[in-house]
Symmetry: C2
Subunit: 184 residues, 2 copies
């Protein structure tokens, strides 16, 4: 895991991978799958994420003002499908991390947990835009720190050639995903 310089952060998202959004507030934390995540600016790096108002992840991220974007890979696909299929509100007495045995580690600048085994992580601070949030479920955030697995992201670029299990994933519909493919 290696820190990413700010001018390269957008390159983590340029190719449109599906993400896991994590958030925490007080002693609560949650994780959800999100495909509608996009780069917005280079420096300072900004992103957009679309998060439904009914989600528990959103309640925590709005309370805390921060969240993390984790980039899962092919070898985590069953976990991605699991966390995308159930709400954290429906697990009384536990949370999704415990329920599915998802290991995490501490972020550098925010409270949200980062997911072990992912290949990229973006620590995000919400830029308050109430009209976008309330009208479109659209959040704009500044990326205050970012990291990647240097086996597959180095010199500011993804290189998946020798690491099929570490390829990022792209949601199509209904729990079906494609891996990032060959260079063309």
């Amino acid at each position: 895991m290696k820190p990413i310089e700010v001018s390269h952060i957008a390159r983590l998202l340029n190719h449109g991978p599906t993400t896991l959004i994590t958030s925490s507030h007080a002693d609560k934390r949650n994780i959800m799958a999100a495909a509608w995540v996009c780069a917005l600016d280079f420096n300072p790096a900004k992103v957009t994420v679309v998060i439904d108002s009914k989600t528990y992840t959103r309640e925590l991220m709005e309370a805390e003002g921060t969240f993390a974007i984790n980039l899962p890979c092919v070898q985590q696909i069953e976990m991605v499908k699991q966390v995308g299929a159930i709400s954290g509100r429906d697990l009384p007495g536990t949370d999704k991390f415990a329920e599915y045995g998802i290991a995490t580690f501490a972020a550098h600048k925010i409270s949200a947990p980062l997911v072990e085994g992912c290949v990229g992580w973006l620590e995000c601070k919400i830029i308050s835009e109430p009209h976008n949030q309330n009208t479109y479920d659209l959040f704009i955030a500044e990326v205050v720190a970012a990291h990647a697995d240097e086996r597959v992201f180095s010199e500011g670029r993804w290189h998946f050639d020798d690491h099929d299990a570490l390829r990022t994933v792209h949601h199509i519909a209904g729990g079906v995903f494609f891996a990032t493919g060959q260079q063309c």
Copy 2:
């Protein structure tokens, strides 16, 4: 080429493909490559696109209020690189379509030309949000019509298995692209 029902339009973009944005106004037209395009809502279908204020495509799309998102495929990759590397402003007396021999056909509900040989097309009408446009170069648009190549998009889903040349593409950085890969 088949029309896409509104509830399936977001599925054209869920997996994060790189796009070609086309726009036209009066007798002018332009085309540019854009990776920062994302689904925003299901029904009515909405999208976000990030378009730099210096681009000619943006000048035309703001003047007209509409634009098209074309989804290019592997067999068009050289053309995608070409239109992404030069501004339409730098081609006096001609345009990018003529310069690179890019064939187009008429959209159903907007003036922007659609690019032949692409595998998906979204006809978009800008929802005026001046703060987002001026502060973030971020546009929100409603998709007023959408179509796809039914060889690779049918029953509301992409199916690339037998059509490697028709796989969508994902920009990484610096003119390097990956194809959409295998189901996982």
